[in-house]
């Protein structure tokens, strides 16, 4: 097994794990649908479990925001509901069943979370409320859900986007349901926001991070086998020069072994190597 054989999902989980520190608290929802479940739950859980088994043994994983460090090894399949009998009976260190519960949301107890959206814009605002005007939408979507809290009350946010297209990565979102860096860090301060904001935006083509002074999203790395022109063509706003952007680093052989043999030996979280397509196919797949 070589590092070159890592799937995109394993590669992203590894990058995320590297960004996590010991004693942090990570919050992930329990998403449904194949792509959303892989990007919104599978990759984040693999990343957190990988971090727990390497440099962050005291990291706390909050599955569905409620189940503290659940024992996934007892599961026959990943749950597809956040608050039903299967989760009630899942062994865990603690279960959140009240609001407010164990973690004090507004005191910043949750270090990082994962969210997805229908639109992301150049300053990192996200939208899951509507396309078109709010009072006469072309498309009505599910609503803000917990995005506002994810992007402000958590200390940082990873935005996981299963698709990378110009209509999704737009100059300005139609409705701000999660605040990025409008006006940079100073802009957030002027809005009265104490901390938090998007750290990475991950797509099938690249990883974005932020110039937090300028408040601009920028390409941090491009995945193996993807060209800068492809990233540019898939993005609805100008990305500036991409000549010096590095390739997204692959996991080490030891990290790959941990993911495949220890963290997700039964492929409950992310598809196995035979079924996992390469980066571009992943984008088309969804």
């Amino acid at each position: 097994m070589t590092a070159a054989s890592a799937t995109l999902y394993e590669t992203l989980a590894n990058v995320l794990a590297d960004d996590m520190a010991d004693r942090e608290v990570g919050f992930t929802g329990l998403l449904t649908g194949s792509a959303a479940a892989i990007w919104g739950t599978g990759i984040p859980v693999v990343a957190m479990e990988l971090a727990r088994r390497t440099h962050a043994p005291d990291l706390t994983l909050l599955l569905a925001g409620c189940y503290h460090n659940p024992d996934l090894s007892v599961l026959d399949r990943m749950p597809d509901c956040e608050h039903d009998a299967q989760l009630r009976d899942l062994p865990a260190e603690a279960r959140t069943r009240d609001y407010p519960g164990q973690w004090a949301l507004k005191r910043g107890d949750v270090t990082f979370g994962f969210s997805s959206a229908v639109q992301v814009d150049r300053v990192g605002n996200i939208n899951s409320v509507c396309i078109g005007p709010h009072d006469a939408p072309k498309v009505r979507l599910v609503g803000p859900i917990l995005q506002p809290e994810h992007m402000v009350c958590f200390r940082r946010e990873y935005v996981m986007m299963p698709r990378h297209e110009p209509r999704i990565f737009v100059d300005k979102v139609d409705f701000v349901s999660g605040v990025g860096f409008p006006g940079g860090r100073k802009g957030r301060e002027a809005l009265g926001l104490d901390w938090g904001g998007p750290r990475f935006v991950m797509t099938p083509l690249c990883i974005f991070d932020f110039d937090e002074e300028e408040g601009a999203m920028r390409v941090r790395s491009i995945h193996a086998g993807v060209t800068a022109d492809e990233v540019r063509a898939a993005t609805g706003f100008d990305l500036g020069p991409l000549d010096d952007v590095l390739e997204t680093p692959a996991p080490s052989p030891e990290r790959l072994r941990l993911i495949r043999e220890i963290v997700d030996p039964r492929n409950l979280l992310i598809p196995n190597i035979e079924r996992a397509p390469d980066a571009r196919e992943t984008g088309a797949d969804t």
Partner: protein
């Protein structure tokens, strides 16, 4: 020990007590333990002009939107989770028949906490930059009188009536919450403590002796409850924790009913425009219901 006064009502009478135009909060959360039997009765009675206020909505709002029973929804989410978008809700909003007031998820809970504490608003410091504020004149910005920092005053949920579905209650309105409850059940408790009018549908009306044996789990006490209704499988097709799981076949039927007007009519004729809840259970079928039982962990 006195027998006390029974608050037991028929589902018809309980639903009739919710007038057209009322602000209603349905218990449960997202696709979990929604008082669906009560909602079907509201539709049966042709209720109009309701506003639904809550934290996360699903099948109840989709059904009410399909028949034009609601004018507005104030919440953080309307969707069917694994079954996708709530298509009837979506159509109604896009056609301008239904207004949505969007709130962040935990702020939606905080709005009920404001009512529970009898406060005129709930202070939220983290709404800057959100179109949740720019599209909602009911949220007012103010400067914190202590620190001067930016704050937003969010209006309370202010439901006229709360409707929850529980496993067990006695005739006086003491409601038992299972020991191993989850967030949807604590949402019920919060809502019930935050409103003067609380209607409880229950899987089973139990003897006072049963209530006294579970006193530690009576989180909603009789004096908070206006009416109780015995309504077996009253959350179906959503799950009732400790009694039954979600019914994926019924979910699929509802999703299919959004394919055309004719499909919706057929669905309504089969499941709503019928005699009562017993007729509903017969329409679903006893064999199918029997397979949804939640056995718990048996320890």
């Amino acid at each position: 020990m006195t027998a006390g006064t029974s608050k037991l009502l028929s589902i018809e009478d309980a639903a009739r007590s919710v007038p057209d135009g009322a602000r209603v909060a349905f218990g449960g959360f997202a696709v979990y333990q929604k008082p669906m039997g009560f909602v079907r009765e509201l539709v049966r009675q042709g209720r109009r002009g309701l506003t639904v206020v809550g934290s996360a909505q699903s099948y109840e709002v989709d059904l009410l939107a399909a028949v034009g029973a609601i004018d507005a929804v104030e919440t953080s989410y309307v969707g069917l989770e694994a079954s996708g978008l709530a298509r009837q809700f979506r159509r109604a909003v896009e056609a301008g028949r239904l207004r949505v007031v969007d709130y962040p998820e935990m702020v939606s809970w905080d709005r009920f906490r404001a009512n529970l504490e009898n406060l005129p608003f709930w202070p939220v410091p983290f709404l800057g930059g959100l179109d949740i504020v720019t599209t909602n004149p009911a949220i007012r910005r103010f400067d914190c009188p202590m620190t001067g920092r930016i704050m937003y005053a969010v209006p309370p949920a202010d439901p006229d009536v709360v409707v929850i579905h529980a496993l067990a209650a006695d005739e006086r309105g003491n409601v038992v919450t299972p020991a191993k409850y989850l967030l949807p059940q604590s949402q019920d408790v919060l809502m019930a403590r935050a409103c003067n009018r609380v209607i409880v549908t229950a899987e089973k009306i139990v003897d006072p002796t049963y209530i006294r044996r579970h006193a530690d789990h009576v989180q909603i006490a009789s004096y908070q409850v206006e009416a109780v209704v015995e309504l077996p499988w009253g959350a179906h097709p959503t799950p009732a924790l400790g009694a039954y799981n979600a019914d994926p076949n019924a979910y699929a039927e509802w999703v299919g009913a959004a394919d055309s007007d004719a499909a919706l009519e057929a669905w309504l004729n089969r499941y709503v425009r019928i005699e009562d809840n017993d007729a509903y259970l017969n329409a679903v079928g006893g064999a199918r219901l029997a397979r949804l039982l939640d056995l718990g962990d048996l320890t």
